[in-house]
């Protein structure tokens, strides 16, 4: 027996291979670490274990010891310690590893168990694959192919249950497809805190139901669609839109709030079809809010800016950069950055402010936190602005001081990187009084008023990083190309920095990062390429004690504030 490397590790034997796993691991997870697949439906690592699907049945055995002397009992046939196998199969999800435990997943008994369960799951299951959205990511399809018998012996009438019931605005239910695993019921109760789903009737006629009159409409309802192993719960937004095997998956970050939930953006031929959560046990487990999933619709929403303009006329990028540089050279510049910009964009914005001898502001967005995955700070990257030095204090006061500067005449040109100044609190008169250089994605009062206008990209169309409320730096990647006429934010910012007399810096994440690592103490000795998919925790102590707006969320506990909110 291999000695476990530490007292918290337990050595088990899975299909003849020994492996050490942490104490408390269940057999499904232990097998996963040994690259052995144990199929399941109802088990979910973030929900309570119920053990009702019976698909994960395996054979378990413990080494035999003499009950009196505790000496090992040997098996003369093999010369090794005898293994007392259980009388029958046991479910792996509810079995925690014990020292010396032996697991068999390929024996004839286990094979029969799986074929039996698959047959049972399919006898009342409707032949909906051709019209079911789950096809291609359906556990029933995968496991019947991998572990099923391959034919059915059922010649009776299948059960009829309600089909295509709208459970809520975003979730459609087909009861015939439901295998009664109860993942959705457990999720709604345990994670979303909205106990609205349950089973009615009994036996094989059990039916998943929402209480008549109530809806499944909480802001986490779509997670039930993610975790439903079959096509019983489907997204109304995604319904009938695209087959999943055509979709490309790109890792991204939810920009809805400073939680920075990890996501996957699913796209095909330049169009995004849906967003789903990506597992990050340090940030969002396997969940995300419904409100973050619709953000991809902004890509094609009306008002998308499509051409570089100078004083209203279409213009070439070079000409616009020159016009902006002239405005900047005239002095009296203020820079309004964004908590929605990436770390790289904020780094360049800070360089621009330096070069133009301008003060920087950030637009605050504070809402109500839901204690789960939407925090009170609705900017995803305020901490990126702190880390890159774009701002030194939290933007709680908004743009009031900037407004005073405009009124007094001290500020004559405002560079707005991705923010609508009107929505941020400046009056129409104030905006009209200054020359505005604006980078943005959609039409707004600011884009109308801008003398120099650069159309730029949404988070789905570019690469970058954000720093979330935990001071975790996380990457997001480009899923689809931007519209014709839009320019990459880093390209525009780098050109403006150079034109304003600042240094010549890289215009893409790869070539820019050496400068960032050199110039930002918190990001020293890092490069974009080796930030892990689950992000990297930075040392946030220089900004600890600031009066952050956020309360607790799933994996975040606010520290006590030691500094007062600065009065600007």
């Amino acid at each position: 027996m291999i000695q476990p490397s530490s007292p918290d590790m337990v050595t088990v034997n899975i299909d003849g291979r020994e492996i050490a796993v942490p104490k408390g691991t269940n057999v499904i997870e232990a097998a996963r670490r040994a690259s052995v697949d144990v199929p399941f439906y109802c088990y979910h690592p973030k929900l309570t274990v119920v053990g009702n699907c019976r698909m994960c049945l395996v054979e378990l055995g413990m080494p035999a010891v003499d009950p009196a002397t505790k000496a090992p009992v040997m098996d003369p046939a093999t010369g090794k310690q005898k293994i007392n196998w259980g009388r029958g199969p046991t479910i792996a999800c509810a079995a925690n590893v014990a020292p010396g435990m032996h697991v068999r997943t390929t024996s004839p008994v286990v094979k029969e168990c799986r074929e039996g369960v698959m047959e049972f799951l399919l006898i009342n299951h409707p032949l909906d694959c051709p019209i079911c959205d789950q096809a291609g990511e359906c556990k029933l399809q995968e496991q019947s192919t991998g572990y099923g018998r391959g034919y059915s012996r059922f010649v009776e009438q299948k059960n009829v249950k309600p089909k295509r019931t709208l459970l809520g605005p975003r979730v459609m239910l087909d009861d015939e497809r439901c295998i009664l695993c109860s993942r959705c019921v457990r999720f709604s109760k345990e994670i979303a805190g909205d106990d609205v789903l349950g089973f009615t009737d009994r036996g094989s006629y059990s039916t998943l139901t929402c209480y008549p009159g109530k809806k499944l409409e909480n802001n986490y309802s779509l997670n039930t669609v993610d975790i439903c192993p079959v096509g019983a719960l489907t997204s109304t937004d995604f319904r009938f839109k695209m087959r999943v095997w055509f979709l490309k998956q790109t890792n991204s970050i939810d920009t809805e709030s400073s939680v920075g939930a990890n996501t996957v953006v699913w796209s095909r031929e330049g169009a995004v079809y849906r967003i789903t959560p990506r597992q990050n046990d340090g940030v969002n487990d396997t969940w995300m809010a419904d409100s973050g999933r619709v953000l991809y619709k902004e890509i094609r929403s009306p008002g998308r800016l499509a051409s570089v303009r100078v004083d209203g006329s279409e213009s070439a990028l070079d000409f616009a950069v020159k016009a902006a540089a002239d405005l900047l050279a005239a002095g009296g510049v203020a820079v309004v950055g964004s908590g929605r910009s990436s770390v790289e964009e904020q780094f360049l914005t800070a360089r621009l402010a330096e070069a133009a001898k301008a003060r920087s502001w950030l637009v605050p967005r504070v809402g109500e936190g839901d204690k789960l995955l939407v925090s009170a700070d609705r900017n995803p990257n305020v901490r990126g602005a702190l880390v890159t030095g774009l701002i030194a204090a939290l933007p709680s006061a908004g743009l009031d001081a900037l407004g005073k500067g405009i009124d007094s005449g001290a500020v004559r040109t405002v560079v707005s990187v991705g923010e609508d100044l009107a929505a941020a609190g400046l009056s129409a008169a104030q905006i009209a009084k200054v020359s505005v250089i604006h980078m943005g994605t959609h039409a707004s009062a600011t884009s109308e008023a801008a003398r120099v206008l650069f159309p730029t990209l949404t988070v789905f169309e570019k690469n970058g990083t954000f720093v979330n409320q935990q001071f975790r730096i996380q990457r997001f990647a480009k899923a689809v190309p931007g519209p014709v006429g839009a320019a990459d934010d880093l390209v525009v910012l780098a050109r403006l920095v150079a034109a304003a007399g600042g240094p010549v810096l890289g215009a893409d994440v790869g070539s820019l990062w050496p400068a960032i690592a050199a110039g930002v103490p918190a990001l020293a000795a890092m490069n974009y390429g080796n930030i892990p998919d689950t992000g990297l925790l930075l040392d946030g102590t220089p900004w600890a004690g600031l009066p952050y707006a956020e309360g607790p969320t799933l994996h975040f506990k606010p520290a006590a504030a030691t500094q007062e909110a600065p009065r600007v």
């Binding site: 009737d201 009994r202 209480y211």
Partner: protein, 165 residues
């Protein structure tokens, strides 16, 4: 929701029997059904609120347990056991006889509103099969002849009390 004072007293008392309020769900459902004759949607929501639960938690129970009904039954509720011992002693024929006597189908209210006839599972009196429960009363050795007799009694009693209803 209109419940008698006695029912309300019973409800408040039974809740004290349990350290966790949810346990009182079945007792409350029994009390409400005895009072109103069935469990309405209003009752489900009222009981849920009373026990600080969600309506789905009560709805799940009402649909699981066959003794709870969501629609009123006939004036008399005839339940015929259909499990093995009673079946081999003629339980199915007994049930057919009741249905014939009142001209009614299974599980529905008879045309004259008098009875609901339905099957139930083993009533734990197999030695005196076939057995039938009429409301809360157990009747033993109910063959077709006795079924006719019991039906006649029900009809006679119904006629006699018709004036008081």
């Amino acid at each position: 929701m209109k419940l008698s004072a006695e029912t309300l007293r019973g409800i408040d008392e039974v809740i004290t029997h349990y350290p966790v309020k949810r346990s009182a769900a079945l007792p409350l459902l029994h009390l409400v059904q005895e009072d109103q004759g069935f469990i309405s949607a209003e009752a489900i929501e009222w009981i849920a609120a009373k026990l600080e639960l969600q309506p789905i938690n009560i709805y799940e129970l009402v649909t699981f347990y066959p003794m709870f009904r969501q629609k009123p039954a006939g004036r008399r509720h005839i339940k015929v056991c259909r499990t093995l011992s009673c079946a081999i002693m003629g339980g199915y024929r007994t049930c057919a006889e009741f249905q014939r006597q009142f001209g009614t189908g299974l599980g529905e209210v008879s045309p004259d509103g008098e009875v609901t006839v339905e099957f139930v599972e083993c009533l734990a009196s197999c030695g005196t099969a076939p057995v039938v429960m009429i409301d809360d009363q157990l009747h033993e050795k109910v063959d077709q002849a006795k079924a006719r007799e019991l039906s006649d009694r029900i009809k006679a009693e119904s006629r006699a009390t018709a004036g008081t209803r």
